[in-house]
Symmetry: C2
Subunit: 223 residues, 2 copies
DNA sequence: AGTTCAACATACTACTCGGTATGTTGTCAA
DNA sequence: TTGACAACATACCGAGTAGTATGTTGAACT
């Protein structure tokens, strides 16, 4: 916001994170480092100095761009969520049955969990931090926005599976519980997937297929 | 271990955590408080003073029983794992098909996640801490034992689902991936379940049933 | 009655970390 | 050429925290 009126234009001015462009190049590098650090050690155990060190810089650089550690964390959170929306959005008004729509959305979502894993783990931890109320009153407001953002994302999936159930293509009981089970299942690569050297896109697609198949069956899709 | 040769016998000498008896009463109270605190704020964000405060005590009490914060955490971890073994063990040599055995094990396991939730969240975080290598060399050894302990527990389930697949009662591809999906699914109440006031055991059983049904279908069990 | 010791509480230290205040440098406009 | 300013680096402070060293007390044992 308030993207500098006439910032000095240099090479490496913009970057993308999971399909979402981040305006400033230096900020994007900080975001990447922060996401990696938060993923590796967790939010509380990660110090600003850790993030700066992984950049070959010092605290000054980070505090020049972000007013606080919490704001840096929130920006990583938001970037991860925006990447999810950007990946899902083209599928919103697609033709076909609800189950078919769900399957394509689920595959894109799961792939996103693998490809932008550091950011998505921050999103996950952010949700937990919010639920635990470990935020200052001011950041509480920002976090509330991010949580609403995230709930809207979940609502998209929920609508689709409810529509699929009404069409007789899915079978489940409580939609709230089922939504939780579905997301935990689709998100699970966050916890057990580790990139292997020399791994092809085929390998990733194999994993995605297994995750989505498991979840689809869990939702009562006939096979 | 080395349960005091002739400790002063007082009232409230022993307690149970999820069916497992903890020798010393005061230690058990510390364990409960630590588990609750670690669940509420996470390991890194929880201070020894926090745990002591929730007990109405001071650090002295905790450091009298535990040499370090990591050892306290490890003890919570081990207690949680022991509760899991104790719950599963009676089902090991039960009659019936592999699927039937799995379903009973899964129900007991999921119920355990709900009933002893603070301890199980510590187990979860402990696994992550170990995988991140955030331990001192000495505690690394203790943690390695605990991880082996945990892997053995997972192996029990893995054997059962492989047997069920060979019997034609389950359908899945890679057992490693499937085991991860299964546990993430069964453990998911750790993240989204919150005890409601005036909640009956029936309500919990309803949740357990939904979780196990979802997972069973995910594993390819016919319904 | 006196000794011992477990089970704590109190007081203190060394260190880390979030945040700030200030210095430095390269670049661009005029 | 020269100010102006963005983009950092450096130096520093205060708060919190893991761990230690030491004091205190009540109960058991002799």
């Amino acid at each position: 916001m308030a993207a500098g009126s006439h910032l000095a234009v240099r090479e490496e001015e913009a970057r993308t994170v999971g399909g979402v462009t981040v305006a400033d190049g230096s900020r994007a590098a900080i975001l990447d480092a922060a996401a990696a650090c938060f993923m590796a050690k967790g939010y509380a155990a990660s110090s600003i100095d850790d993030v700066a060190r992984s950049l070959g810089s010092t605290k000054g650089r980070i505090y020049h761009h972000y007013p606080s550690k919490g704001d840096l964390f929130a920006d990583v959170f938001r970037t991860g969520m925006e990447a999810n929306y950007a990946a899902i959005e083209p599928l919103r008004d697609i033709a076909g049955s609800a189950v078919a729509r769900w399957r394509r959305m689920a595959m894109v979502h799961t792939r996103q969990m693998i490809v932008t894993r550091p950011y998505q783990r921050v999103v996950w931890e952010g949700v937990e931090l919010y639920l635990r109320g470990a935020t200052t009153p001011e950041q509480r407001e920002e976090f509330a926005r991010l949580m609403k953002y995230r709930n809207d994302y979940g609502a998209i999936f929920r609508q689709v599976i409810i529509a699929a159930r009404e069409a007789g293509d899915m079978r489940f009981d409580d939609p709230r519980v089922t939504e939780q089970l579905m997301f935990v299942s689709l998100n699970s690569p966050l916890f057990w997937y580790t990139p292997r050297p020399g791994e092809s896109e085929r390998d990733i697609e194999m994993i995605v297929a297994q995750v989505v198949d498991f979840t689809a069956r869990g939702l009562g899709v006939r096979t």
